[in-house]
C-alpha cells in the first residue's frame, strides 16, 4: 500500500517506521525542513517538505495513487482538511485523522473521515474507569452497522451480581463477548456464566443502546463524566 502521513511528529515517525517494516510504501509530508531532514536521516528518502493541506503539495506527493492518507498535525482543522482534500480531490479510499478535541469527533465522522484517533478520549476513558460512577467505556466503533465494543466494570451494587448471563435482560443486538475477572482471568462466557463483582464485561452493542446496556448491567443511571 502507498500511505501518506501528513505531519512528521513523533507519532508520524514511529508509524512510518512500522509501516516500512511491514513493507508498505510510505511518505511523510512535513512542513519544517529541519524536522524533515531529521526523519530522512533515520528513515531514508520517505519525506517531503511541504504543507500537507495544500492541494499542490498533495499532488506532488502522489496523493492520487495513495491508498491511505493519515493526518497527524497538531491542529484538528488542518487534519480535517487534509483528509477531506485527500478524499474529495484525490479519491483516497481511506482517511485517518488525529483529533485533539474529543468533541470534534462528531464532525469528522459526519464528513466521512474513516477513522479518528483521540488520545484525549482514550485517556479520559481510562480515568473514567477509575471513577465510582461506572459509566460504560466505548472501546471501539465497528465500521458499518452502528455497532461498538464497550467495556464496563460490575460494581458491588449491581443487580446482576451472582446472576447467570441468561437471566440478564440485554438490549437488542447486544452481546457479552468476554468477561475479565477481578483476578485477571479471561472467560469466554456462555449463557450460564455467572457475573461477579469486579468483573470487567466486554460487550458488543448498538451505538444508541449504550444506556440500556448500562442499566441492564448496573441498574441506577449514572452521571457521565463529560
Amino acid at each position: 500500500m502507498y500511505i501518506i502521513i501528513v505531519g512528521g511528529g513523533k507519532i508520524g515517525y514511529f508509524l512510518a517506521r512500522q509501516l516500512l517494516e511491514d513493507q508498505h510504501e510510505v511518505l511523510i509530508v512535513e512542513q519544517a525542513a529541519d524536522k524533515a531532514a531529521q526523519i530522512a536521516e533515520d528513515l531514508g528518502e520517505i519525506v517531503m517538505v511541504g504543507d500537507g493541506c495544500e492541494a499542490s503539495t498533495m499532488e506532488r506527493a502522489g496523493m492520487a495513487r495513495a491508498d491511505m492518507a493519515i493526518a497527524l498535525t497538531g491542529d484538528d482543522a488542518d487534519n480535517l482538511v487534509v483528509c477531506q482534500v485527500a478524499k474529495h480531490k484525490f479519491s483516497v479510499p481511506f482517511t485517518i485523522a488525529m483529533i485533539n478535541n474529543p468533541k470534534n469527533e462528531r464532525i469528522f465522522k459526519m464528513l466521512g473521515i474513516n477513522a479518528t484517533i483521540s488520545s484525549t478520549s482514550v485517556i479520559l476513558a481510562h480515568i473514567e474507569q477509575e471513577l465510582p460512577s461506572h459509566p460504560l467505556i466505548p472501546l471501539l466503533t465497528l465500521k458499518g452497522g452502528g455497532l461498538e465494543i464497550v467495556e464496563l466494570k460490575i460494581p458491588p451494587e449491581s443487580q446482576v451480581v451472582g446472576k447467570p448471563i441468561k437471566q440478564v435482560l440485554l438490549p437488542q443486538k447486544s452481546l457479552i463477548t468476554l468477561i475479565i475477572g477481578a483476578d485477571g482471568q479471561v472467560r469466554l462466557p456462555t449463557s450460564d456464566t455467572v457475573i461477579q463483582v469486579g468483573d470487567e464485561v466486554v460487550a458488543v452493542t448498538m451505538l444508541d443502546s449504550e444506556e440500556s446496556l448500562r442499566s441492564a448491567l448496573i441498574g441506577a443511571p449514572s452521571v457521565r463524566a463529560f
Binding site: D75, A77, L80, V81, V85, H88, K103, M110
Partner: protein, 151 residues
Amino acid sequence: MRVIIMGCGRRGAALATMLDGEGHDVTVIDVDAAAFSFLPDSFAGTEIVGSGTDEDSLRRAGIEQADAFVSTTRGDNRNVMAAQMAKHIFNVARVITLVHDPIREEMYRSLGFRTVSPTRIIAESLREAILADDGGEATGAAAEAQTGSEG
C-alpha cells in the same frame, strides 16, 4: 437576519460593521478579545470570545438561532471546518466561508459551500487594472506618475 461572523480581523469587522449598520442582529466570535477593537464604538451587536470550531463556543454565540454564518479568518482550514459544523451540525441556512487557496476554494464550492476567495478576487481586480484600456482614465499612482514626468 441573525448573523454570526467568525473572526474579527479587518474583514470580519468590516462585514460586521456593515451588517450591523443595516440593522441585522450580528454576533462576532474571535479567539482574541483584542480583535474586537476593530469594531467601531457604535457597534450594536454581540462580541463572543471563543473558537468558531468549538461547538460550545458556537452555541454561546447563538448558532442554534442563526440565519447565517460567515467564516472570515485568515486560516482556510479553520474557516471550512467551522462552516461545515455550522451547516451539518447546526443546520444554519446560509453558510459562507472565505477560502484563500483557489484549489481548496473550488473543492469546497463543489461540496456545496458558498465560498469567497480573496486571492481570486484580488488577482482579478489587479488584472483588470493592468489591462485597463489606454483610452480610459488612468487612475491613482499611474496618472500621478504621468503628470509628474510631463510637468
